[in-house]
């Protein structure tokens, strides 16, 4: 099943073209990785999927991005539903300077999704889904800023689970974490992919190889190659992909 279909996507920052005619599709309930060196446009592409690029001035976007068959660039009635459905995990774990509980409840309150005991239940379930419940159940009212980086990142994921996001966009979610925490977050991603469609941007090729089902390699705004992860890493079709994954540049 295709969850996301991108066709003929061009993106310009003023005169600079950051994405060139991107075509790719993202499978539902699978992990899709985008790899490539800094400035290749992989984060920009990721941010096209929940229209976060709209926040930047002077951006022009052409082409279509369809999620569940609907072009998200033709939405007329505000972006809140799109961003609820397509959640984002950022590079620096960025909990609000609120309590653990309020962080998870934030989206629920904003979307008027739950109140009272129902709210409590959803917060609990969301924390359980990211394996934070056992560690934090006794300090839900403490500030989230006191958590470890890994806990913060899990909390940010719990925040999305609470609002029932269907797609999780992860922009280098582990780059601030140590190797062990990275592995644990990767394990979590494997668990989450049963229910969520995940797109991850990563600098770390091993990470892409470990966690993803499909991988796209980007270079200078172009999607050079896209395919099943084992194929990309063992028999890349394009010379440039091969150079990158064998470490000749990047």
């Amino acid at each position: 099943m295709k969850k996301i279909e991108i066709e003929g996507l061009n993106l310009f920052y003023g005169d600079f073209q950051a994405l060139l005619d991107i075509r790719m599709s993202v499978r539902e309930k699978a992990i899709t990785a985008l790899i490539g060196s800094s400035g290749c446009g992989k984060s920009t592409l990721l941010r096209c999927l929940n229209r976060m690029n709209d926040l930047i001035e002077d951006v022009r976007i052409e082409g279509s991005v369809k999620i569940d068959g609907k072009d998200i660039y033709k939405i007329k009635s505000g972006l809140t539903q799109l961003r609820k459905k397509v959640g984002m995990v950022f590079q620096r774990p960025n909990p609000f300077p609120l309590s653990v509980y309020e962080n998870v409840a934030f989206g629920l309150r904003v979307h008027h999704m739950a109140k009272g005991s129902e709210l409590e239940d959803i917060v609990g379930e969301s924390l359980k889904a990211v394996h934070l419940w056992d560690e934090l159940k006794d300090r839900l009212n403490r500030s989230a800023l006191g958590l470890s980086l890994e806990q913060k990142q899990r909390l940010c994921i719990a925040r999305l689970i609470a609002v029932k996001s269907e797609v999780l966009l992860m922009d280098e979610p582990c780059s601030a974490l140590d190797p062990l925490a990275t592995l644990r977050i990767e394990d979590l991603m494997q668990l989450l992919k049963k229910d969520y469609t995940i797109v991850i941007v990563t600098h770390n090729m091993q990470q892409a190889a470990r966690v993803s089902d499909e991988t796209g390699f980007m270079l200078l705004g172009e999607l050079v190659e896209f395919g099943r992860t084992p194929d990309i890493f063992t028999k890349p079709k394009d010379k440039r992909t091969e150079d990158y994954i064998t470490g000749r540049f990047g």
Binding site: N50, M52, L55, G78, L79, T80, Q81, L82, R83, K84, G87, M88, F90, R92, N94, F96, P97, F106, G107, R109, V110, H111, S143, L145, C156, R159, L160, V163
Partner: protein, 280 residues
Amino acid sequence: MKNEVVKEKIGFGVLLLATLLVVIPVLLIIWLILSKGWSALSWEFLFTMPRDGMRAGGIFPAIVGTFYLVIASIAFSLPIGVLAAIYLSEYAADNLLTRIINLAIINLAGVSSVVFGLFGLSLFVIFLKFGVSIISGALTLGIMTLPVIITTTREALRAVPKSYREVSLSLGASRWQTIRHSVLPFALPGILTGAILSIGRVAGETAPILFTVAAFYLPKLPHSLSDQVMALPYHLYIVTTQIPYIPENFRFGTALVLVGLVLIMNITAVIIRSKYRKRK
């Protein structure tokens, strides 16, 4: 090598000297009004009406007047200033209109206070027929403090990390929800700083209240916003220049009370601010 050390020492010395030059006047002012005004402080001075052409009795109506003026003008300028700053920093596009507004704010900050007084007289007192009253004075003072409040609020809003906005928007919050829940709470301490700066200014200004609210001698308390009041800075001017044979400690006592009142109000605001900072 040794030369470098000497140069650095001289450099530090100059910096230290400049810093001390800032501190000295502050200490001198405090010492002056404390030493000359302390003896005037008494229950009678603080809480009774003036008597004998203000040569005796207290300054209670002036204290109350200044207090009312501060509260009323901040109640007017803080909400308007904060809302305007939110619009300018979060919503307004960078276009001609915004630039004109910015220019207006900067110019408003540069207008001298006596001109504000004249403006308040013609607009509030005469044209809008509010008369010489607390409401006229508070509105005049409020307009005078708007630029300070707008500027400090904008800086406070700008200092809120972009990531708070981004993550809130990425969760599907609307722009207003984002501002309300993940920008304003964190800008609040900075906004209160603006309010604190304004309190001192409002309490101390004489020119804007001269034509709009201040009474020369009015030994009773106001009953409504349309009453005149005495005010500490104007009273200080009067007792210093207009009334002969007044005890010297009356003058400095009045100054001491003015400084003390501003100090108390500032401390209150600082306490509120630190409470919000802790909540973060």
